[in-house]
Amino acid sequence: MKKLLTCIILLTVLLNCKAQQSVILNIQNKVSGSVTIPALQNLNVITQTSSLNFSDPGDFSNGKEIAAFYLLNVNSNVPWVLTAKTETDNFNNLSVNGNNIPAGIVSIKNSTDNNYVPLSQTEKNFIISSNDRIVNDYKVDLKINPSWKYGGGLYNINIIFTLTPQ
């Protein structure tokens, strides 16, 4: 009888402890959610003008320089590299008597840099991310130095900027 009583009491104590535990857990509750993030990038290129006129002798002697010719809006959530190249090795000659003008007379630079980068059909690293901000804007200066070697005419060339994760 005494043993039975002891067992009942022991059982009561254990059940009490268990009940107490479950109550404590229930006074908080939660909801869950998730966020999935891939590497995301976007590049906007704004051009001041689509055509340049070389009419001053100084444009041929010293080249023509246009500050902030391109405005680049770089958006990326991962470290990035922006490359630049020309679409072709030479300008497209749109005139009857035009010459083959190499792409290398075109050079660009970040407006905060000092040195111009001559362009070619080979992709070159132009700007590499230097901070961890998603949004970055850059002004790109353009220089075209045709010299006196080429005949007058109408020429065009496409410049391609490419944004990729590092």
């Binding site: 009561t12 009940a19 006074i27 939660k30 999935t36 891939p38 590497a39 976007n42 991962v78």
Partner: protein
């Protein structure tokens, strides 16, 4: 000796019973019901820059059994080992059943790993419960974020004032 043993257990049982009575009763449990799936899958960089609002995403039901109880919320982050993870999540009271909560209660509250008090709730008459609807705001991010899947939980808890 046997009697001493029995008396010890009786006393222990009584003490434990009184402790249990001091624990919160079923009336002051917090019921949390999700109403809006809080899953974000970014497909455009511009989405990441803007806040993502889950309107009335969470319903909380709670009946304090003390004169005033404080409702707390915190955030638990899984897979967030990278420090550049998107961790800025806020709660905003959108709607509620009781009229005795002041305007300040509707402020956006940025959640943290440490529980933060979001409301002080006076006891309601009878069996009445507070029914609170919260907007969950996943804040836009303006810095690099390591690609991946991030899980979070919003934990509600209460404490007598």
């Amino acid at each position: 000796m046997k009697y001493l043993f029995i008396i010890f257990f009786i006393l222990f049982g009584i003490l434990n019973s009184s402790k249990t009575l001091a624990q919160p009763s079923s009336s002051n449990l917090i019921s949390v019901i999700p109403h809006n799936s809080m899953h974000v899958f970014y497909t455009d960089i511009n989405e990441m820059l803007a806040d993502k609002i889950f309107t009335r995403a969470v319903e909380v039901k709670f009946a304090p059994d003390v004169p005033v109880a404080d409702l707390y919320a915190s955030i638990a982050l899984d897979n967030y080992s990278n420090t550049s993870a998107p961790t800025r999540i806020s709660l905003k009271l959108n709607a509620q059943s009781a009229s005795n909560l002041n305007a300040a209660s509707t402020n956006e509250i940025l959640l943290n790993k440490v529980p933060i008090k979001i409301l002080s709730l006076p006891k309601l008459p009878g069996d009445e419960k507070y029914v609170l609807f919260f907007d969950v705001i996943q804040h836009g991010c303006d810095h690099f974020t390591a690609p991946g899947d991030y899980n979070f939980s919003i934990i509600f808890s209460q404490s007598p004032q």
